[in-house]
């Protein structure tokens, strides 16, 4: 039963959702199945949040208990989790500091700590791109040189001063890069990958619906 039930559930859900795609949602019961199942998914995901809290608490608590290297940071993680979580689930009718509205503890920490730290992480991407580009664009072979030249042209085309410089070489050069490099070669390759990936996803869906692929539920 433990092995069969998940496979049967995946089959029934997959077939029902596929069939519902072809029926009018307003007129038929089967047409609204997809929306109904997606609602269930949202509810299940909400309950699953507890698993995350248990995991993060257990891993960090064990680290503190064993005084492992960096245990102080684990303590900081646990304090942060509960300082954010507990006031946010309490009713704001008790105190304006509770809940998630403006002026609450949750909002204060979110705006002053979380958001700036996450923005900092994202901003660091610029430096990471520079170091990755340096490695990728080294002209070690004919193909790498072609990549380097193309990348230089595209980068110049993307900035106003570069576009001006390209126009000095040939007035239609920026348009040429746009039409042939970005909307030509680049788009064609991207679409090829997208079509391949979509068929791959469809094939995997079919393997899952038919119970051929069961690794994702812990069965070989």
């Amino acid at each position: 039963m433990r092995r069969t039930a998940p496979v049967v559930t995946a089959f029934v859900a997959g077939v029902l959702v596929t069939i519902s795609f072809f029926f009018n949602e307003q007129k038929t019961l089967i047409g609204s199945v997809q929306t109904e199942i997606l609602n269930w998914v949202t509810i299940i995901f909400g309950f699953a949040l507890t698993l995350g809290v248990v995991s993060i608490t257990r891993v960090n608590f064990n680290k503190i208990k064993r005084r492992q290297e960096g245990w102080f940071y684990s303590l900081l993680v646990l304090v942060s989790v509960f300082i954010m979580a507990i006031p946010s689930i309490l009713s704001s009718s008790w105190s304006p500091l509770f809940g998630r509205a403006e002026g609450s503890i949750y909002d204060w920490i979110w705006v002053r700590f979380s958001e700036p730290m996450m923005a900092t992480m994202f901003a660091m991407l610029a430096f990471y791109i520079a170091s990755a580009a340096y490695r990728a664009f080294r002209a070690r072979s004919a193909e790498a040189t072609l990549l380097l030249v193309t990348a230089l042209l595209v980068m110049l085309w993307r900035i106003p001063m570069g576009e001006w410089l390209l126009k000095q070489m040939h007035t239609s050069l920026p348009d040429w890069i746009n039409v042939y490099v970005m909307n030509g070669f680049n788009l064609a390759v991207q679409r090829g990958i997208i079509i391949g990936a979509a068929l791959g996803a469809a094939s995997m869906s079919l393997r899952i619906i038919l119970g051929i692929e069961r690794t994702y539920m812990g069965k070989g």
Binding site: G52, R135, I195
Partner: protein
Amino acid sequence: MAILTALPAAAQGTGRAPAPDSIFLTNRINALILIVFFSSAVLYFTQQARQGKKLFLRKIPGLEAVEEAVGRATEMGKPVLYIPGILDLDEMETIAGVSILGRVTKIIAEYETPLIVPARYPTVLAACQEVAEQSYAEAGKPDAFDRDSVRYLAGEQFAFTAAVNGLMMRERPATNIYMGGFFAESLLLAETGNAAGSIQIAGTARPEQLPFFIAACDYTLMGEELYAASAYLSHQPLMTGGLKGQDLVKLILVLIIIVGVILVIFDAAGTYSTWFEVS
């Protein structure tokens, strides 16, 4: 639903609006034909594989390198870090990532190498724990599995990235494997892994993230290779049958596109293009 959302040739179109009172959406018949044909092709080749017919599967260097990368981690006494993407379990890429985790964990268990799997969503955490535990059991080493090796880190994208980057710099894993859906954090993760000196194998179906992985990783699985990886690593003929059916449909789509391009060149694609529109 994935099987439907994964039909871009059809899904990109504007399509005709269905009749408001109709029960069956006739404007989606072309999608139905494609699904029936696609399913038949996959089932036919799966049946062929079941009967013992040998199906050729081209080598995927990134997957061939998995065992070597795990071996390297074992020799160095360092862990293998596996990230099943940053999307939730209702995304096909995550399911592919979790499936590959099962295959990779079996190799890891055989080598008795430490494993670290950070998860961004609790549902992914639960699935990864279940899959990894089962793989250890199948490898005959159920006691070697540490449930906390699969751990929840953070729900926010960049908080998760910061936590994984911290893990990389502290634990210095010998091998990093990224399989699933990734966004802006792809390069932040891969560059940090590169700086930590890890062998890196990545796979994603998102074309906009592929250049970052190609620049920073040793091996990259592109698009459909991610979905084929689980079947490829399983070495089971039944699983590879689906890949053959998928290739047949891809060949037909290529022919359809070529015919379309020729018709567009001669300005005669009017009726032809409407065959592929779905709303």
